[in-house]
C-alpha cells in the first residue's frame, strides 16, 4: 500500500524527534536491548525516516519491538531521539488507520471506562492462594468522579485511532 507520510508529519507529534540531525554514528543501535530482534536497527529507522521511507517502517514489526528503555535517546550525541522517532511512527500508524497491537485499544477502552488500564486483579500469591485488594487490607479503589468528562475528552483527542487495532 502507498502511505503518504505528509498526511500527518512526524514533527506534529509530541516529542523531541529530529531525524535530520543524525550522522549515523550507531550509538543508538549498539545499546539497544531489542537490536538483535529487529528488521531495522534504530540507526536504520532514523535514516529511513530521513529519506522518507516511512512506509516500509510502518509495515514492519520493528517499531513495536522497541522496549521503550530510552537508552538511545539518552546516548545520542546529536539529540536525534531515536525513541521519539519510533513513538512518532507508532502515532502515525494509528492516525492513518493501520493495524497496531490490540493491547493499546484495550488500555484506551479501560482508561475511558474506569480511569485505569484494568480493574484491580485477583492475583495468585506464592503458595497459590488467590488474593485481592480487600483480602490484603488495601483501600478500595474509586473511579475518578468525572469519568464521563475524561472519556469524552479522550474520545475527542483520539478519533481515527480508536478500534483500528
Amino acid at each position: 500500500m502507498v502511505v503518504k507520510p505528509d498526511v500527518v508529519r512526524l514533527k506534529d507529534i509530541v516529542g523531541d524527534q529530529q531525524p535530520e540531525y543524525c550522522n549515523q554514528c550507531g550509538k543508538c543501535s549498539s545499546g539497544c536491548p531489542s537490536a538483535k530482534f529487529l528488521d531495522f536497527s534504530p540507526r536504520r529507522i532514523v535514516i529511513m525516516t530521513q529519506l522518507d521511507m516511512t512506509s516500509d517502517l510502518l509495515k514492519s514489526d520493528t517499531i513495536w519491538l522497541c522496549a521503550e528503555c530510552l537508552k538511545c535517546k539518552e546516548r545520542c550525541p546529536r539529540e536525534v531521539a531515536p525513541y521519539d522517532v519510533i513513538l512518532a511512527l507508532r502515532n502515525l500508524t494509528a492516525k492513518m488507520g493501520l493495524t497496531f497491537p490490540a493491547g493499546y485499544s484495550q488500555y484506551l477502552n479501560s482508561i475511558s471506562k474506569r480511569g485505569l488500564i484494568q480493574e484491580p486483579q485477583l492475583i495468585h500469591a506464592r503458595r497459590g492462594e488467590r488474593v485481592d485488594r480487600r483480602s490484603l487490607g488495601l483501600p478500595k479503589l474509586q473511579k475518578p468522579s468525572s469519568m464521563e468528562k475524561i472519556a469524552q475528552n479522550l474520545n475527542n483527542i483520539i478519533q481515527p485511532e480508536r478500534a483500528k487495532s
Binding site: 493499546y104 488500555y107 488500564i117 484494568q118 490484603l136 475524561i150 475528552n153
Partner: protein, 292 residues
C-alpha cells in the same frame, strides 16, 4: 514531609506488594502520604497511539495535586517519568498547555506547573537519607549481596530531572548498603528488563529479561532489588516462564522491592510487606535474612 501518593495502574491493580510495603515503610521514615484522590492513569500506556492523550491524562493528575497544594510521589518508574516528561512538554509548549487546560476547565482543574514530581529513590536517598535509614535498621543483612536494578526510566533520559546519574547511578546501591548488605557493580547492571515490548512480543521480553537474570545468578548475588513495578512484573512474576524458556540453566533468583527489603530490616512482619506475593523463589532468602 507531606506528599501526594500517586500509584498509577500497575501497582494498584496487580503489584500489590509494592503498595503494601510502601504504605508500611514510608510513614515510619517520617513521610506523610496522602492518596492523590480522583486520579487517573498517567497516560503512558496509550502514548504510543496518541501522544496528546498522554499529555492530557498526566496534566489532569498534575492539576489534581496542584489543587491540593502537594508535590507528587509517583511510586512507579513508568508513571514518574511519564508525569515528569508531560510536565516538560506542558512547560515548553504553550499550545499543549492551553489545549490540556481547556479540557480540564469544565472539571474546575488547571495545570499551572506549580507542583513537583518526585521518585521513591529521591525520597529515600535525598529526603530521608542513608544515615536515618541506617539508624532504623534492626536486623542488618550481614554477608548478603544484592544486585541493584533501577529500571530504565529511573535514569533515562537525563534531559528530564532523574533521581540519579544516567550512566553510573549509585543511590540504590547506597540504600542497599545502608541495610548492611553488599551491592557491587556488574556489567549488565543498567540493562533493560524488556517489559516495554511484552504486549507485542512476550517471547522477546522473556529473552531480554532472561539474559540479565542469568548473569546476576552466575555472579552469585543472593537476589535482585528493584524499585520498578514493570521490572518486578517481568523478573519476579514471569520468572517461571523465563526459566522455562532457558536451555540448561536452572534460574532461581529472588527478586524483591527495595521497600520490602527495607521493611524486613526494620523488623516489619513479612506478610505486611506483601512478601507472600513475590512469585520468584524468595523463601530460602527470607530464611537467610532471618539468620543474618
Amino acid at each position: 514531609m507531606k506528599l501526594a501518593l500517586y500509584l498509577g495502574c500497575t501497582i494498584q491493580t496487580e503489584q500489590y506488594a509494592y503498595e503494601m510495603s510502601a504504605r508500611e515503610v514510608l510513614p515510619k521514615l517520617g513521610l506523610e502520604l496522602v492518596d492523590l484522590e480522583d486520579a487517573n492513569c498517567c497516560g503512558y500506556p496509550i502514548k504510543s497511539i496518541n501522544t496528546f492523550s498522554w499529555i492530557y491524562l498526566s496534566a489532569r493528575n498534575l492539576a489534581l495535586a496542584e489543587k491540593q497544594g502537594l508535590n507528587i510521589l509517583a511510586l512507579c518508574n513508568g508513571c514518574e517519568l511519564s508525569l515528569c516528561e508531560a510536565k516538560h512538554y506542558l512547560e515548553t509548549r504553550s499550545d499543549l498547555k492551553d489545549l490540556a487546560n481547556s479540557m480540564l476547565r469544565p472539571e474546575g482543574l488547571r495545570y499551572a506547573g506549580k507542583g513537583e514530581v518526585t521518585h521513591v529513590i529521591n525520597v529515600l536517598h535525598d529526603i530521608v537519607g542513608v544515615d536515618k535509614i541506617k539508624k532504623l535498621v534492626r536486623k542488618p543483612l550481614k554477608g548478603l549481596r544484592f544486585a541493584s536494578h533501577y529500571g530504565c526510566h529511573a535514569i533515562w533520559t537525563s534531559n528530564l530531572k532523574r533521581p540519579d546519574d544516567p550512566e553510573d547511578p549509585q543511590k540504590l546501591e547506597e540504600l542497599i548498603r545502608a541495610l548492611g548488605a553488599d551491592s557491587e557493580d556488574y556489567p549488565e547492571r543498567l540493562e533493560c528488563c524488556g517489559s516495554g515490548l511484552a504486549m507485542f512480543s512476550g517471547k522477546t521480553t522473556l529473552s531480554i529479561a532472561g539474559s540479565k537474570l542469568r548473569k546476576v545468578q552466575e555472579y552469585g548475588f543472593d537476589g535482585m532489588i528493584t524499585v520498578c513495578p514493570f521490572c518486578m512484573k517481568i523478573f519476579d512474576a514471569r520468572q517461571k516462564a523465563i526459566k522455562a524458556s532457558m536451555h540448561e540453566f536452572s534460574l532461581n533468583l529472588p527478586i524483591l522491592y527495595y521497600t520490602q527489603l527495607l521493611g524486613l530490616c526494620m523488623g516489619i512482619n513479612a506478610e505486611k510487606l506483601g512478601l507472600n506475593l513475590n512469585l520468584s523463589p524468595i523463601d530460602s532468602l527470607l530464611r537467610k535474612i532471618e539468620e543474618a
